[in-house]
């Protein structure tokens, strides 16, 4: 029996005449390597867990799916009566009464290049960011998910003109690419 290393262990011949390595406490080198690999994997998992995650509200508008940062959406209101106000631009279809508070409503289709609708029957997402607050017409909610921050990629260069001013990134969800819209950018587009 040869001592090959004080730190690792000793080498010996097995019954087939092969040299195997035994660690000081009787652990094989392969076991040591496997432990090392598992240790690295655990570390990777811990790193994964510690990744910063962001909540996304994924919704449909027209033919496409989009998302808002969850922190910017206060609530989703079922379809309610929108009071039309004379003199408002096309992207402001009117006002809603949310438990006594009168809120404006923005038709985001106008900025996304989606087709017009005659009769709205979808939902209203109440968006609040800094001093900006408004309801936003959406067709439906797809999901509310937490995604790793690093999975958001910059906006696609191929994005068409209508929506590119609102899109701050993209991420993959349910086998499709979702455009992430920024309430702050919407705010600067609609505020005078």
């Amino acid at each position: 029996m040869n001592n090959t290393s004080e730190n690792i262990g000793t080498c010996s011949l097995n019954k087939w005449g092969e040299t195997v390595m035994e660690i000081n406490d009787g652990q094989l080198k392969s076991e040591l390597i496997l432990d090392e690999l598992k240790g690295r994997q655990r570390t990777r998992e811990i790193v994964d867990v510690e990744q910063e995650r962001v909540k996304m509200v994924i919704f449909r508008s027209g033919a496409n799916r989009y998302a808002f940062y969850g922190k910017d959406i206060r609530e989703i209101i079922p379809s309610c009566e929108i009071s039309w106000v004379p003199g408002l631009p096309e992207y402001l279809p009117g006002l809603i009464n949310v438990r006594g508070d009168i809120e404006s409503v923005v038709n985001i289709r106008h900025f996304l290049g989606e087709g017009k609708i005659e009769q709205f029957s979808g939902l209203i997402a109440m968006a609040v960011k800094d001093d900006f607050r408004t309801g936003i017409l959406i067709d439906s909610i797809d999901n509310v998910v937490d995604i790793p921050l690093e999975s958001i990629s910059p906006p696609l260069a191929t994005l068409d003109g209508a929506s590119r001013e609102l899109v701050v990134g993209n991420f993959e969800y349910d086998n499709s690419t979702i455009s992430l819209l920024d309430i702050g950018k919407l705010s600067s587009k609609v505020s005078l």
Partner: protein
Amino acid sequence: MSVSVIPDLNIFLFSVGGVNFGCDTDQAETMTDYHGEESNDLFWFHNELGFGKEQISYLSPVIVKIRTGDARSYRIIIDAVEEISVFSLNDIYAFPTLCEPFTLKKGMWGILKHKERMFFMVDFHLLLKNTPIKIEQKKKAKRRSK
């Protein structure tokens, strides 16, 4: 505790094209029934407010002569007044920030909540700011058509 110096408002309520409006009675000098007359100082409410191309029908049109405080004559045709009541300022709210720049241009400065309905408060003096131009345009159009 701050005390409002603005007294309660006496407001007349009416609807045009299914939209509810309110106005301070102090702004109305007279109210008379409309019988189809035309005049350079007479304007349809829906045209003044920018209702768009949609055809608006009035059930019982009434002419409101606006108290201008000077020699100008400014009259608006509205639909019949539904109610005249005193309202506290607590019943009136500002338009949401996004809408206010547009509504003020059309003379609407606030929203009165009454019987689960929204009444848009109209200040005809705000509308009057543009009226001299409109009266002139009306006169020119009349001259061209002759």
